[in-house]
Amino acid sequence: MGYTLIYSQVTEYIPYLLAGAWISLQIVILAFSGGMFFGLILASIKTFGNLTLRRIVIFYVTFFTNTPQLVQIYFLFFALPEIGILLSPFVAVLIGMTLNAAAYMCEIQRAGFLSIRQNELDAARTMSFSIVQQVRFVILPHIMKVLFPPLSNHYILMTLGTSMAAIFGVEELTGRAFNINSETFRSVEIFSITALVYIIITFIATLLLAIIGKYFFKAKIRIIQ
């Protein structure tokens, strides 16, 4: 084995690397929010809309959940210029992740809609709750509790998914690891540190989500085991 691990050679790059994590965070928060918003619209159409609209949504969701996010972004990045739409790498990744997220969130949120229990609504109606009060006191709390675990889980998956952006040159965490790698060639050191950063980031995220879930939504998430 003619290679020795020299971590000291890469320590000077660590601040640069960590700054990339901030860009990853931006990507995931934007894509997640966008995905939730569009997902909600899609879920509403799929639950309440007319047949044609429902079919369109079903087609959209089926397509985006049965194809890889990477290839979806490849398509946006390479194919759109053909018809004159030029996207920067960051925007292409963002749009790709948002469209992908919307499809999955549509399904997650639809499950939330379907979990509303009619008998609770009936009880509220007989106690003269107005529609707004029914939504506020019966429907929303219940839906939030049901939706929180799968949405949190998807958030973590999306955080890991941002690493794809590196392939398109975006200087988020993995992208910066690529850069440092091409400068120092200390590949194992760099990528092991990057892996560690991802582990720490997702742990912090899971912890925060667990706390938020417990106190605001009374939804429980496991951290480990």
């Binding site: 397509f63 890889p68 194992v188 991802y198 742990f203 480990i224």
Partner: protein, 225 residues
Amino acid sequence: MDRLIQELPSFLSIWNIIFLLKAMGVTFLLSLIGCLVGFSFGTLLAIFRKTKSALLIPLRILIVIYTEIFRRVPFLVSLLLIFYIFQIVKITDSLFIIAIVTVCLIATAFISEIVRSGLESVNQTQWDAAKAMNFSYYETLKEVIFPQAWKVIFPPAFSFFILFIKDTALASQIGVMELTFAGKVLNNKGFSPILVFGTVLILYFILSFPLDRFGKYMERKYATN
């Protein structure tokens, strides 16, 4: 649009079609082997993780660390890390083998969680009854717990298999000749990216969608049993 129609015949040449089909095969193989190995080792990990003896604490800690690492690091970063480690250790030059190893390591981590959930879904009372009749830990698992846990394990495990097919797209980044890489090759050859990546998306869809339907059909069948 006219470019697309112009290119179509040369794009759909026999060579290209065979090339793409072979690449589809590689994608499918990566996911299949990964999941089969993942299921075998994942089950082993789940069994050992649920042991209670104090002697095995180091083993249980190792298993937890392993599972958390490979579930919290993006596929791309794991792949590159293992790629570079292989370069140092020089066991093999084959990109396919490196990809298979990565895929197996990741699948094992995820599936061991699925199996563990399945085992935990079986009521504690079944363990108590077996224990009171002097069943050993392994006898209980074999005769009582696993037959009941299987119903809870199979749907998410199969679902993971389908999801994993999409994850293998990232293996393209180290040059494994799977479907996404085939797309990149054809794109570099000069074919229209709309055509190329559109076709790749459709091929992934053809791979994933029937399996997804089959999975849902099996789920309904198991549920009514």
